[in-house]
Amino acid sequence: MSGKASALLPSDARACSASTARRFWRFDFRDRIRAWGFGFVLPTVVFFAVFKYGPMLWALELSFTSYDMVSQPRFVGLDNYRDLLADPIFRETLVNTLVYIGGSTVLITLVALALALAINTRVPGARHCMMAMFLTNLMPIIAVCLVWRFLLHPHGLISQLLHPLGFDRVDWLTSSWTAMPCIIFVTVWRFAPYFMVVFIAGLLAIPDDYYEAAHLDGASPLQRFWYITLPLLTPMVFFVVVVAALLSARIFLMPFIITGGGPGNATRVLSMLIYETGFSYLKMGRAAAISAVLFAIMMIFTFLQMRFYMGREEAYIR
């Protein structure tokens, strides 16, 4: 190769490079646009590969190892997953997580939709109410959790408000029956107003003509909601359900600060267990296995949601 190159005369080399340049510019316009497009997208792709998918794949790899952060990881096959199945704390925490995701997602969606419908009636002061409710999203989560911890104290404000109704004392956060519903309630209080805004955007996009036509045809408000509003809000509902579920699956600070996972194990969720297993017990392999289980649950959930809503959307289109 070098012999051939050295055999080329300078004039030949110039001709060669000129022809390469011509070949490049012989790409048609669409190819060049595509090349530029790839060029612009490349930093983002690299970012995702290095900081998102890379760590995810590494975590998956870790889940098949025993790794205490100070020694070298050691391959153990499926041992971490087998141990999880045999661990009652993991099973209990998994059930807690599913209850939390289910409860939070359903309530967030229903409350957000109800609030959006109420705001959309455009009664005087509705916009101010919307702003006031949205403020719950602007408060630092730690402050929110601490305030709720004091409000839900056995002799806190909420117990005092309920006192005239005959409730002498309610152990909101220290009873295993009420602790998880309280955490779900605080979650809904915080996040429902955010999703309310999403629903309001969806409601405003529905043309008034549909409602006027339905009204002329004698449809009741409930029928108008059921046959016009809800079908046209389906994409929003799908978005809210999926995002709220993903948000709930990753929740950490609320149970961590409000109850610390207690009483007993009543409010411990998988993200807390991942943190404790990895950073407190130094079992990174096992923590990665729990992460993989949580990821799998969310993938299945999202996939089922997509199937359900896509199917419904196609049915409406037909």
Partner: protein
Amino acid sequence: MITASKTAKLSTATISRRGLMRGIGAAGLAAGASAVGRRAYAQGKAPVSLAFWTFDNPQQRPWLNKRIKLFMEKNPNVIVDFQWFPFGDLGKKLSVGFATGTAPEGFVSQDWLMPIWLDKGLISPLDVTRLGYSSFKAFTDDYAPAFVAGATKDGKAYGYPLWFYGYCNYLNTKHFNQVGLDASNDWPQNWEQLGEVAKRLTIKDGAKFTRQGFKFAMHAAPWTMIQFNPILIQCGGAWFDANGKCTVNNAAGVKAMTIRASMAKQYGAEDPADSIATNPLPQLDWFKERVSMFFCHPIPPTLIKAQNADMMAGHYYREVQYPGVETGRGYSSTYGFNLVINAQIPQDKQEVLHDLYRFIMSDPVDCWNDTAPFTLARKSGWVDNPAVKAFPDIDQFIEARDRGVFLPRTLVYNELADAMHRAVQRIMLNNADIKTALDEAAAEVDRATAAYKRG
């Protein structure tokens, strides 16, 4: 200054050939010697950069920082990057540091983390002679037995101790007086007395406690361990048997937990669900006089003053020893902090760290003055100082340190603490059966031990 007459003398002096040769030789020798001297100095005082991590505490961290700054002033070639982290985070930061190769050269280790560092070979044995002790025996003789059990292994010291302290029963003497008790004579010396006195101190308004006679901490797993550990040992129990199996669920464990639960269930002297304690201020209920008695580590007077100025001004509190299963023979948990050296660093840095640690601990009275009432682990060099002797109830603190039992030294300490905390919550808050809850905790700990042994 050379004057004109001296210049004249110099110019007139004759220089012989031999004298010239001597002069050149002497000058060469002097130049050579000075060059050798400079090289030796440079080798000895080459710049050394060290990272040093500790936990945050309003008194202890500033004192360490002060001593390190002083050391750097005396040794300008040594640069110490001093960093600190919240108390509970230090262990996690260190683990991540070791995993990523960014662990500091030296750090303060809580003594319950020592078994993990030792098991993984992450900390280096210390040269006690470089720390100023004539032998290993002289070193161990100078410290509380509970400390020695945790910081030494196979005849070698791995930790150079800073503070080491036991817990006392903090009494609100004003509350004692209000119910006709004299805190000096009527302080509870066994668990039954504690229950009876606490019951007498308790004030209730229907289901609500206006004042709890006594309170066990419920806010965090480490406190659950610290407060339950001495009851278990006093009842003749142990955390593990010789084979490493968790034995907290045997008869002694059940007896200990029954005593633990009796304050609420038998004597009605505390409400486990009613507390305003937080991790930074576990004693908050006691400070705010919602509680009359509380087991706690030495509390700095400045903290009492900040939280309850009246209590400080009237000095209506005092510290006494723990109750015992046998009257008057109570003892508490003790724990402390060690200066340790990362085993992965070169020998020359280890030597500098030895010198740094020796310097830090070379003035224990200064340590006491800045960090009182946190007792030092060492016995010598500070206890007889008048400033120390004048501190109120200092004897109680030192007695608690010397009589105390150490926290379980196990490789699954965090798992054990979390399992016990869950068990206590189930028993105290959800009325779970004591034996069943302890069986679950023991099974959890055994699973963790088995997993650790598998690697």
